[in-house]
């Protein structure tokens, strides 16, 4: 991929950030309906009965921002930096904040929150009446672009996403509220990595094994997952990242968004 692609992506990212800034910060918890469908999973273990059905759900339009997360820890002190149990967060938890309840420069409040553990993300989502999206739900939405629900076969789309993955994580995070995809969901690609509910289900195991039938001994059922779609490096990278994490870990480029079940039909 050429330098031109990279530059263009950065430029459009900047434009999106400016637009978001002009539009003001996204309202606290906007959710949109993602209709049911099927996902051609990148994981072979799922694809034996493929494609994987995905039920309709409601997804947060934007990743949770630092300002939103600050309000959460203000009302739930047990999730504040310095108070949180080691069981639920490593030493890097919210380390980029000025103190336990202050993000810092007010301009950063509209950036996506990062340096959060899976436990903290899950607790936040429960506070919004939801949970983290499953891997399938997240990938289902991540397959979309502005006009198509599944753009994954398009080499240009893949290149655009990979271009972000290849940029340095040192650049300042843009505000949430970039361009919308076909569902109306924003910032799925190009801003932060995101936790999923079943991050610990991506059984790519690097442990050396011993014994007669190592796969069977280590895991009930089949062995570790196989990757179906080797061309889709972006999915490979997401699996590699998520499967390397423990639930208490936090990183400088990992945030989250939540999903909720659809409101029941009142009939």
């Amino acid at each position: 991929m050429g330098a031109t692609t990279l530059r263009r992506t950065r430029a459009s990212g900047l434009a999106a950030a400016l637009l978001a800034a002009l539009a003001g910060s996204a309202s606290a918890a906007d959710y949109v309906t993602v209709p049911a469908g099927t996902l051609a999973s990148a994981i072979a273990g799922d694809a034996r009965a493929a494609p994987v059905p995905v039920e309709a759900f409601s997804m947060r339009v934007t990743p949770v921002s630092k300002g939103e997360f600050r309000r959460f820890v203000e009302s739930r002190p047990e999730w504040q930096r310095g108070r949180i149990a080691q069981t639920f967060a490593d030493a890097g938890y919210l380390h980029d904040w000025r103190d336990a309840t202050t993000v810092g420069d007010p301009a950063t409040e509209s950036q996506p929150v990062v340096n959060v553990s899976w436990f903290a993300a899950e607790a936040y989502c429960e506070g919004e009446g939801g949970r983290l999206p499953t891997w399938n739900e997240w990938e289902y939405v991540a397959a979309a672009d502005a006009t198509r629900r599944d753009a994954r076969a398009d080499p240009a789309w893949r290149a655009r996403i990979l271009a972000w993955y290849s940029t340095s994580a040192r650049a300042a995070l843009p505000a949430v509220g970039g361009a919308a995809d076909v569902y109306g969901v924003r910032d799925v690609h190009g801003v932060v990595w995101e936790w999923v509910d079943d991050f610990n289900a991506l059984l790519v195991d690097a442990d050396s094994r011993s014994g007669d039938d190592p796969d069977k001994l280590k895991f009930c059922g089949a062995g570790a997952i196989n990757l179906q779609d080797r061309e889709n490096y972006a999915v490979l990278m997401r699996i590699a990242l998520l499967s390397s994490l423990n639930a208490a870990d936090s990183t400088t480029s990992l945030g989250f968004r939540c999903v909720r079940p659809l409101a029941k039909d009142p009939r």
Binding site: A49, Q86, T87, F88, N200, K216, F219, A224, N246, A247
Partner: protein, 210 residues
């Protein structure tokens, strides 16, 4: 749990306070006598008992996980319809127990939590306990809701994934937790229990007995 009449408790408290004062006055390095058992010390920050989940055992009794505090545990995650590895998980724990003295065993409880709460009802768990002749006094086969299963697995570092055919991929591990809920050791070797793991179990069980 606390049936001590309050005047007695007050007297004990002032006694404890007095001895603390004395210890301080003497500059003694030795800690003051232990406070009455009812004054629970704060949980260590790395305790699994921070997790506010409820487990229901094969006897149908529901209890918060942190009610287990005080006695060390061997913890594992399984599902009853698993044909190969999960029975071996049970045999592995039995092998650990067989290598302990009766006294060490007495201080140890075993909790196996199902990763398949949809199918592993209390009845199914009870049947498994009976069929496998499990000692229901010290062993609990438990279920909880799906979100709590995910959290417990996250705390224990166990991976699991539902497969389309109803089976699960999952890490098979036995995890030793001390009386305060700290993970003290883990083993993924099935069958003949690892000697180093058994040694840790013995040490933690003995510490709990003191």
């Amino acid at each position: 749990m606390n049936t001590t009449p309050s005047p007695v408790r007050a007297a004990r408290a002032s006694l404890a306070a007095a001895s603390v004062a004395m210890a301080l006055a003497l500059g003694a390095a030795q800690a003051a006598p232990a406070a009455p058992a009812t004054a629970a010390a704060a949980l260590p920050s790395d305790s699994i008992y921070h997790l506010p989940i409820v487990l229901t055992g094969q006897d149908g009794r529901a209890a918060r996980l942190d009610e287990r505090r005080g006695a060390p545990l061997l913890l594992g995650m399984f599902y009853t319809s698993c044909k190969f590895v999960c029975p071996m998980l049970i045999e592995t724990i039995r092998d650990v127990e067989a290598k302990l003295s009766a006294e060490e065993r007495e201080h140890l409880n075993v909790v196996l939590v199902s990763i398949d709460p949809e199918h592993d009802s209390v009845e199914v768990l009870k049947r498994t306990v009976d069929e496998r002749r499990i000692d229901g006094a010290r062993w609990t086969l438990a279920r909880t809701d799906a979100a709590s299963v995910r959290k417990l697995a996250a705390v224990l570092g166990i991976q699991y994934r539902a497969l389309p055919d109803g089976e699960f991929n999952h890490t098979t591990a036995v995890i030793l937790v001390d009386g305060d809920g700290r993970i003290a050791a883990r083993t993924t070797r099935l069958g003949n229990a690892e000697a180093a793991f058994v040694k840790r179990v013995r040490a933690v069980a003995l510490a709990a007995g003191r």
